[in-house]
């Protein structure tokens, strides 16, 4: 059986010595799933998250001397992941715009493969499931920080204090992001099901 270790968010770097490459690898492995959620949150899709985290790790390895041993490794890496994901998103926007201006093909809506639940543009297939479709569309309406907060809370079951530390935001802000995101997704789902009622008002109406 493969020897893997459950992710331990917020792993502290070893004290008393410089963070070397092997120590980095161990911490990176521990933090990987959290970092992946940050990447997926910023990107708004899961498909490029692997690449973003790996690219961010490469960046980090070149800057190990900038890591302060008393600081939180996951938070440090999450910042790099976020930068990397944002840069990737910007590049992708430019690429799509250039493709459109040059008369090239539109951003892909074709499935990457018959079996894949994701499109070649990294988004989930719209026809995968009507319910998934609504969830993904509602996620698209959130900002990247809110998406990351929601994924870290819902998928990783992390406490708000940990989410706040990872993303460099106040704890109350992390909670507020999650609560608003939940409300928005609920509203979208209930409306999509035609069940708009007193309990399905938009969050701003409350």
């Amino acid at each position: 059986m493969a020897r893997t270790r459950a992710a331990q968010p917020g792993t502290q770097a070893p004290r008393g010595r410089q963070l070397d490459r092997d120590a980095f690898v161990g911490l990176y492995q521990d933090a990987y799933r959290t970092l992946w959620c940050v990447a997926a949150g910023v990107l708004g899709s899961r498909n490029a998250a692997d690449d973003v985290v790996q690219d961010a790790a490469m960046t980090a390895m070149e800057r190990l001397d900038q890591f302060e041993l008393d600081s939180d490794f996951t938070a440090w890496m999450a910042q790099i992941v976020r930068f990397t994901a944002l840069n990737r998103g910007r590049r992708e926007q430019v690429r799509r715009a250039q493709s459109f201006e040059s008369g090239g093909p539109e951003p892909t809506d074709e499935p990457a493969s018959e079996a894949s639940p994701v499109l070649s543009n990294g988004r989930l297939r719209r026809d995968q499931d009507a319910f998934d479709d609504v969830v993904v569309a509602a996620l698209d309406t959130l900002d990247d920080t809110a998406r990351a907060c929601l994924l870290l809370r819902t998928v990783m079951d992390q406490p708000y204090r940990r989410i706040a530390l990872t993303l460099g935001i106040p704890e109350g802000t992390a909670m507020s992001h999650v609560h608003r995101a939940r409300a928005r997704l609920r509203t979208a789902l209930v409306e999509a099901r035609g069940g708009v009622g007193a309990g399905a008002r938009k969050e701003g109406d409350r």
Binding site: R3, Y32, S71, D72, A75, L86
Partner: protein
């Protein structure tokens, strides 16, 4: 200031999801759900949403430690061409059989034979193919931090790149699949002095050959006595490109405003 019924229900629902619901509030939430169809609908929708999010965004294990199939998304790689478009069988055999580690979360490197065999077991299929020298240069610059090129050699075919099955599956440690006179050859490409040094020689058929180019350490794992692939490696210049990945800089004003820093966050 008092909360309206909808706002109060939302607080109860969030407290429930966050595990901070008091017994009194739990009873109140239960009453709201049983007595108000809209509340019931909201609660049901919330649980379904959470379930879907967990399924749709279930994070994978760290590459290099998992044995699960993955599919890589490659559109962000510009001119790179994905040929392994379907679900790939990922190398897990080597990891599964690894002996005890020298620390928590660490795994010793696979042997040369194990790593070579693992690639064959996975169908000797790459995750990325570079169609020309420019793509090869771009790939190595991005993944290894140093742009490389390979001098074409008769009898040597570069099949493509993968990251799975290596020592850690880490960035900075890539695996190039090649064929020499039709025979599969695995090249470990690592930046830094450590390098994924094969720890033993379990097979007479697989003979590791080492070469270093700048900071790049190359291990060629193949049957030949002498290196056929790594001899052609050399550092290549990288032309500036506006779309090239870049490091965060002080020009990222929106990030700077949020206090982001690469210098570490206070604990």
């Amino acid at each position: 200031m008092t909360r309206g019924p909808a706002s109060e229900f939302e607080r109860l629902l969030n407290d429930s999801l966050d595990g901070s619901l008091s017994p009194e509030d739990a009873a109140a939430l239960e009453r709201a759900i049983t007595s108000d169809p809209d509340c019931a609908k909201q609660a049901e929708a919330q649980h379904e949403i959470d379930e879907r999010l967990r399924r749709l965004f279930d994070p994978p294990e760290c590459p290099g430690l998992e044995a699960a199939p993955v599919k890589r998304h490659l559109t962000g790689w510009g001119r790179f061409v994905a040929v392994a478009a379907g679900i790939l069988l990922i190398v897990g055999v080597a990891y599964i059989s690894w002996p005890a580690s020298d620390g928590p979360g660490y795994a010793p490197p696979p042997s040369a034979g194990e790593l070579h065999q693992a690639q064959l077991d996975a169908g000797f299929r790459p995750l990325w193919i570079c169609e020309d020298e420019a793509e090869f240069r771009e790939y190595t610059q991005l993944r290894l931090g140093i742009a490389l090129r390979v001098e074409p050699t008769p009898g040597v075919e570069l099949v493509g790149w993968t990251t799975r099955g290596g020592r850690y599956g880490m960035p900075g440690e890539q695996i190039l699949l090649a064929r020499v006179d039709g025979q599969p050859v695995v090249v470990l490409v690592s930046r830094g002095q450590i390098g994924p040094e094969p720890r033993d020689l379990p097979s007479e058929q697989i003979r590791p050959k080492r070469r270093q180019v700048d900071e790049i350490v190359l291990w060629e794992l193949g049957p030949g006595e002498s290196a056929a692939v790594i001899g052609g490696f050399e550092v290549a210049p990288v032309p500036e490109s506006p779309n090239s990945p870049r490091m965060p800089s002080s020009e990222d004003g929106d990030e700077r405003e949020q206090g982001a820093s690469l210098g570490g966050s206070p604990q």
